[in-house]
Amino acid sequence: MPVLEVSGVCVAFGGAQVLTEVSLTVAERGVTGLIGPNGAGKTTLFNVVSGLLAPKSGRVIIDGHDVTKAGPSRRARRGLSRTYQRLELFTSLTVRDNIKVAGEIRNTWGRRGRIDVGAETDHVIELVGLGDVADREVSELPTGRARVVEVARALMTQPKVLLLDEPASGQTEQETEAFGLLLRQLVDERGLAICLVEHDVGLVMGTCEHIHVLDYGEVIASGTPDQIKDDPAVISAYLGAP
């Protein structure tokens, strides 16, 4: 059963059609990849899903609830959380406070499911391995570590679906490897559904059960990593027509 369902989403900026009839699903307990060349519309789709951008048509369903008309914060309450390709950290706060404030926002949703913010912050910091920089200003971190802070922050709201927008760009090879393990761990231990936009082929092929390929705003292929690898449409999108 999919936790996130996008159907028939169209977006146009001025005259340019950016997304055309995009439909895809993200299954629970797993990592779903969303790949495609630059400008394919991946980040735009994330903005539509998280409510930052209203689509011209189409529907977004999170955990069985139609949230097409809801704002970003209502969608977060339905269990959606995300990171940003262009970092959106709270630059006046330390690493710890960036993560902590997300838990504090979580606790404004209502009585149900309140968390112990202090303990959860410590737990998440240890989980993602930010202990050594927890009390530094986020602006001092290199991009690779800063992306991990975004992931940690997104986890604090106890999401069901996590959208990750190029989390490994700027990370070293070792960091990316550890990051892949972290994603698997989140799926196994927290039962998270993750939607991963990434250019690192190794990370995508190694962690995703299912992959959607976007090109020029259209889904051109969907399937397991093995199916995608051999798909002629995908090959031509990445390498150009033969």
């Binding site: 977060a76 630059t91 706060l93 404030v101 404004t108």
Partner: protein, 734 residues
């Protein structure tokens, strides 16, 4: 029919002038991203300059017009852009707003300096009052026809410029991405300078055209506000569309003349309503504007940096402030104490801005007007006793604060879905509305059903007595000063505690990246509303204290320019710091007034005091100059002062010496060996000398980079920028 036509033509003419001024606003905003609050003041200055040439020096009209419109105004525009506006890219909204407000206040002070406000001046219509022709049976003056023609020409001209010329298309590209435009061979700098020149010329034209139509009397404040009204028209066009801007301007012009013509004479408030109409329209337009896209940190990354003190250090500094004020009370006479009290109360009002702007990133341009609301409530419902024993009651004060918070919430609600600039404009509209309609409501009305006689602001002057809470009676100036200081300290510590709480962290998150805060599940509207209401409540408390300190308050107490000056000076002090609020308050309420009156007294006492007069006028222009300098140091003065003193902790001997010297100077004043002014002078000298002496005695403290204050470190924004470039290069389509 005849009457309708007369009013329609008059309305169209007014609308055309609004449109001209508003299109200048749109032009500069589109190309430089800066909303020019000084547009009205520029128009005012042009009208005065034109008067000087045409009637002061009897130049022929074409020469005077040419000099003002084609030479001086564009030069002013280019000057402003090159020397000021270019420096405030990459600063927070509030800094941009405050810099143009600084220019506005500076131009106003300058005009009052050059043209003594005591001398009446009038402009006449072009070709005189007799030059008119008959149109459909109605007389139209040549001046009106010229104004209409100018409006049409400019509307069509700018539209063509934007859509059909290369320059115009490039101008629209500037605001979106100057760097990209430059890569494509455009010249963003030159284009922006050109648009500022054109914008200034349009402002000047509007000013020259409207002065004779609106009666011909030149008044600095009235003219500035008149053109400020055109903001409503610019908002019609959402600061983009020239057509809609002119359409809005015409609606505005017609509405104001129809109100004049068709509202029954028994409605005494109609004339106030007419003056307030543009601001009401502005407010309504803001309500119907569609929601903005949430902006992310990439767009909001700014140069301002603030640090948050610990509660312990906040308490320590609060205690120090209290001790200093208590010590000063021993040597000050009661009028000086009153002036210091006003400064500290302005500081309390400024604290409302520290919370709202410094912590939450939203802007209120009319904090003093919120104080006016609280004052009016207290005047009507919160007084007990009569004559000399009349006092403000605690419940009256609480009621006043509560009503102000609610009013604040109602004002802010429509603008909260919009960007910071729009909330700023909504508060500006509110501030002018309060002056034009609420405080101007001085004549008694009869309430229809209850047959009650009432007016909101009886006779235009309210006598506000002192506050009395239990045994605490603020009627003595010493008690009032001490209590005000205590209130400032308590609110200051409270704000710092708030900033360190989860509420404060959520405010910071919203300020840094509204998009991220929203996608984490923060209801931004709720958060903004709550912080705006708390801020309005603080401004309300400050406002009641202010009115009570001034004893007798009138429309000039709450005029929008006071609010604007306070906002500006608070940003100058440091909008993110409680100490910045104190500095802003003291500057607004005490320092510059003291300076001006000192110089004015000197010039009258010593006779032939042209020099002192210049200094007095200079100290009127000075605040504006300081405001304009914000581009260089957008974080404000307090962080800068703190960082220049911080190394002294490593040279405690020097610090101790300074404190001792200060105490000696104080004791000399206390024992009447020296006068009060010497204390001020000695303090200033010690303050300036300390870091220099420290550098001499303990140079290692100033050199050691490890001990450099963290506030000085440049934020590491480079990795992000590099990252984006790398991404866009590496991921180019094969």
């Amino acid at each position: 029919m005849h009457l309708l036509l007369t009013y329609t033509i008059l309305g169209l003419v007014t609308g055309a002038v609004y449109g001209i001024a508003a299109s200048g606003l749109v032009l500069t905003y589109t190309t430089s991203g800066i909303f020019n609050f000084a547009q009205g003041a520029m128009a005012m200055l042009a009208a005065f300059t034109y008067w000087q040439f045409r009637y002061g020096w009897n130049w022929p009209a074409p020469l005077a017009l040419f000099t003002v419109l084609v030479v001086l105004a564009p030069l002013l525009g280019i000057f402003l852009y090159v020397f000021i506006m270019r420096g405030i890219r990459q600063t927070a909204d509030v800094t941009k707003i405050v810099v143009t407000i600084g220019i506005m206040l500076g131009l106003i002070a300058l005009a009052q300096w050059i043209w003594n406000p005591g001398v009446p001046r009038t402009d006449q219509l072009f070709f005189g009052n007799a030059a008119k022709f008959k149109f459909l049976g109605v007389y139209v003056t040549d001046h009106e026809a010229i104004a209409l023609g100018c409006g049409v020409l400019i509307a069509v001209g700018i539209r063509l410029l934007f859509t059909s010329t290369r320059t115009g298309v490039a101008m629209r590209a500037v605001v979106d991405n100057p760097a990209l435009l430059q890569l494509n061979g455009g010249r963003p700098e030159r284009l922006a300078a050109f648009s500022w020149a054109l914008g200034a010329a349009l402002a000047a034209l509007a000013g020259i055209l409207i002065t004779p139509i609106s009666g011909g009397t030149l008044d600095v404040h009235v003219l500035t506000l008149l053109v400020l009204d055109s903001i409503a028209a610019a908002m019609f066009g959402r600061l983009r569309s020239i057509w809609l801007t002119f359409a809005g301007a015409i609606v505005l012009g017609l509405a104001s003349t129809y109100v004049l013509g068709y509202f029954p004479e028994s409605w005494e408030w109609a004339s106030n309503f007419r003056i307030a109409l543009p601001m009401i329209v502005l407010f309504v337009v803001l309500i119907v504007l569609p929601q903005d896209r949430l902006r992310g940190a990439t767009l909001l990354r700014t140069r301002e940096r603030f640090t948050v003190p610990t509660i312990r250090s906040a308490v320590t500094w609060g205690a120090i402030l209290l001790v200093v004020v208590l010590a000063l009370e021993q040597v000050m006479d009661s009028s000086d104490m009153g002036s210091l009290t006003v400064g500290i109360i302005y500081g309390i009002i400024a604290l409302s801005l520290t919370l709202l702007t410094g912590y939450a990133g939203e802007i209120n341009l009319a904090p003093v007007s919120f104080g006016a609301i609280a004052t009016i409530i207290v005047f009507h419902l919160g007084l007990s006793g009569s004559g000399l024993t009349q006092r403000i009651t605690l419940w009256g004060l609480i009621l006043g604060i509560a009503v102000t918070a609610i009013v604040g919430g109602l004002i802010a609600l429509p603008a909260l879905r919009l960007r910071g600039l729009y909330l700023a404009l909504a508060t500006l509209a509110f501030g002018v509305f309060v002056s034009d309609m609420i405080i101007a409501d001085i004549a008694p009305h009869v309430l229809p059903i209850f047959h009650l006689h009432y007016s909101i602001f009886p006779d235009g002057t309210l006598q506000i007595p002192a506050l009395k809470i239990g045994p605490l009676d603020l009627s003595s100036s010493k008690t009032f000063l001490t209590t005000s200081t205590c209130i400032f300290v308590l609110i200051g510590i409270g704000l710092i505690a708030l900033r360190r709480s989860n509420y404060g962290r959520r405010l910071t998150a919203m300020k840094d990246s509204p998009a991220a805060a929203a996608t984490l599940g923060q209801n931004l509207i709720k958060l903004k509303l709550s912080v705006f209401m708390i801020s309005a409540a603080i401004a309300g408390l400050g406002g009641v204290l202010l009115s009570s300190a001034l004893v007798s308050v009138s429309d000039t107490t709450y005029i929008i320019f006071i609010s604007l000056a306070l906002v500006m000076l608070t940003v100058v002090g440091g909008i993110g710091n409680v100490a910045g609020a104190l500095m802003g308050g003291i500057l607004a309420g005490t320092a510059f007034q003291a300076l001006t009156s000192t110089f004015t007294n000197l010039s009258t006492d010593r006779g032939g005091g042209g020099f002192w007069n210049v200094l007095a006028n200079l100290s009127l222009v000075a605040p504006a100059l300081i405001g304009v300098s914000l581009g260089r140091n957008p974080s404000g003065a307090v962080p800068q002062i703190v960082s220049s003193y911080r190394p002294l902790w490593q040279a405690k001997g020097v610090l101790l010496l300074g404190v001792m010297a200060e105490i000696v100077a104080y004791l000399l004043v206390l024992t009447k060996v020296m006068g009060n002014w010497w204390l001020v002078l000695a303090t200033a000298l010690i303050a300036i000398a300390l870091p220099a002496v420290g550098r001499l005695v303990a140079p290692e403290a100033f050199l050691d980079p490890v001990k450099a204050p963290p506030a000085q470190q440049q934020p590491a924004t480079t990795p992000v920028a590099v990252d984006i470039v790398v991404e866009s290069v590496a991921d180019a389509r094969p």
